[in-house]
């Protein structure tokens, strides 16, 4: 009841509140960025780690479709860990001369594979950095859907989560409430005919 004592209580409450934040907001954030699949420590960077041939998806020069581009992606020994490598490769800055349909700065937060469905949890840049338009949004979504469903037989559909939560749409068009299956509708194949034999 003395001012000092009141100040002391207020101080404790403030410190407590800060700790509450750390415990319930901060810690989950930190831990969320650690991989969920217990496979990751396998490869040491610098060594010639095994690779797989994978098809990543970028926008065609006209901007109307996606095209597959063959890249080497680190090998991982579980579908979940491999899915993570594939999405990380897809989210990385695109190779010279091609454009990604996924807004710059989008990061993978988490990824789970279960029952043929990959849950891909990405950061909010995928929405906030989006240009809008049905076509651009469709190409963004199917870059992620196709990179997993084309390269991983264990994945038949993909549900995109944003900042850990289920999302309605990215920018008002494509229905993200349920898993989406691979769609060849939005992919141009002819230029990649040679790739068919290598894959």
């Amino acid at each position: 009841m003395t001012p000092q004592r009141a100040a002391g209580i207020a101080g404790i409450v403030l410190v407590g509140a800060a700790l509450v934040w750390v415990l319930f907001v901060g810690l989950p954030r930190w831990t969320a960025s650690t991989p969920a699949d217990p496979a990751p420590a396998a490869d040491a960077p610098g060594q010639a780690s095994p690779k797989i041939h994978a098809r990543l998806f970028y926008v065609t020069p006209s901007g109307s479709r996606l095209m597959p581009v063959e890249r080497e992606v680190d090998f991982a020994d579980t579908p979940g860990a491999q899915a993570r490598r594939l999405v990380e490769a897809q989210l990385a800055p695109p190779p010279e001369g091609v454009v990604s349909a996924i807004p710059e700065g989008t990061k993978l937060r988490n990824l789970y594979v279960s029952g043929g469905i990959a849950y891909v949890d990405v950061t909010g840049e995928i929405t906030t950095g989006h240009t809008g338009g049905s076509l651009a949004e469709i190409l963004t979504v199917y870059s992620l859907v196709n990179v997993l469903t084309e390269n991983l037989p264990a994945v038949t559909s993909v549900q995109i989560l944003i900042d850990g939560k289920e999302a309605d749409t990215l920018a008002g068009h494509v229905d993200l409430r349920r898993p989406l299956e691979r769609s060849p509708d939005w992919v141009d194949q002819p230029a990649a005919a040679a790739d068919e034999t290598t894959g």
Binding site: I12, V13, V15, G16, A17, L19, V20, V22, L23, F24, P28, V59, P61, S62, G63, S64, V99, A101, Y112, S114, G115, I117, Y119, T131, G132, G133, S134, L135, A136, I138, L139, S157, Q159, L161, G164, K165, E166, D168, T169, A171, G172, H173, V174, D175, L176, R177, R178, P179, L180, E181, D185
Partner: protein, 521 residues
Amino acid sequence: MTPRRSIGVALPAALAALVSMAIAQGPPAAPLRLLTPEGTRTLPTVQVGDVEMVALDDLAAVFPMTAKEDPITKAITVDWRGQSIMLTPDQSLASAGGRLISLPAAPRRIRDRWHVPVEFIARALAPGASPRIELRKPSRLVIVGDLVVPRLIVRHEAPGTQGRLTIDVSPPAPHTVVQQGDRLIVRFQAAAIDPTIAPFTARGFVRTVRPAPGAPELIVELGPRFGSFRASVLPSDGGIERIVIDVFPPVETTDAAPGTPSAPAPAAPDAPPFASGAVAGLRAIVIDPGHGGDESGARGAGGTLEKDVTLAVARRLKGAIESRLGSRVLLTRNDDRTVPMDERAALANNNKADLFISLHANASAGGVLSGAEVFYLRLEQQGEEARRIAEAERVSMPVFGGGTRDIDIMLWEMAQARYIEQSSRLAAIVEQELRRVVPMSRRPIQQGPLRVLVGANMPAVLVELGYLSNPAQEELLGSSEFAGRAAQALLAAIVRFDATVRANARAAAPPAPLTAETARP
């Protein structure tokens, strides 16, 4: 580090308990009603933010399940019919029998009891359960076992000299209609009923319609203009049966037999066919100017906003349709404001619109693409499955309410699924008319899983008017001349579609409807 940390854990834990009681937990929602062959029970829920939650131990009291919390990992394990459901306190993803399921929120401890979102019932407990478990969240029902609980959509209209009550029943259930004093009782042979009663203005024939407490009955309170009634049943495809109760004023003007208690009679000759509105062509049309308010949509390099382009075309189109066709036209927004996705299709569904057209402007990387495109819905396989299941179980979709999750989503998804063919025909007509006056894209008709179309219970397309990412197109789309041309082309398409609807209706249902013409405002 460790001693400090342990203090840091104890204090916040105590505070968190206080916080969760004081702030997080909102006013309790109405309890869910649990219908089982043995009887009815209630299942209390609490509202936490926009998520409705139920306590695990309340679930354990009604379902044969046990929940255990691991003191070290904090994980909660639910044993359910020989399989394990794993929940983690800060995760909205859970695992059920080895499959991942997604919930709207993570489990939460409230007053020392673990709570999970009510969707847990549909997603974790219901799959594969025998007896069957069905969650109907908007109706506040959980149905256990093979109980028949028909959904009822009740409407009343009073065009001119008589009143008409229609009750759409799905799945169909045997019923009787009897008069008891100044009431009609519609009694169903079912475990319970799940009614949605459309608001109506009492015009003297019927005062109110309400469900009887604790019985599968609707009570129709009759008004002063009531003289007699006649009940008939119109069987229909899609698993919906329609009960039509015509209410006549007292004697003189009508030759109908006065108030005989009647069992379901064969369809009366003057009862309208199920799609009565269609005979009169398109009665109501909903135009949806895409985006709005906080959501500007695509933006051209010159600053033209998609939300402004779509609104300009929508306003012109509304005026054009009203003067040419006389149909009622509703806009999902008539100014610059944010409209949630579900409200857009719900406006069309609630107004029994015959057509839904969503207007958008496109964007692409690179800025070279140009031209208009017409989209209609592409169903994912899951949607197809939902449709098959729904059809197999002969449940069908209610017309009121919004698209919420689970069972409702399946049903709403089925709504547009039923119209995909008509929507593709509409898309073709729209494309042909647009082509006459505006530049078209190289792929002018497309199919995609578009959110705004999913819930529309009528033919529906989404028109991308052009590319704002292309500077020449941006200039075009921003001009009022373009808005006028696009509106004229869309009107021409709607007129053509209206003609096909009328032709089909004439071919399918020759008898003139009782109400369709007179009911028009």
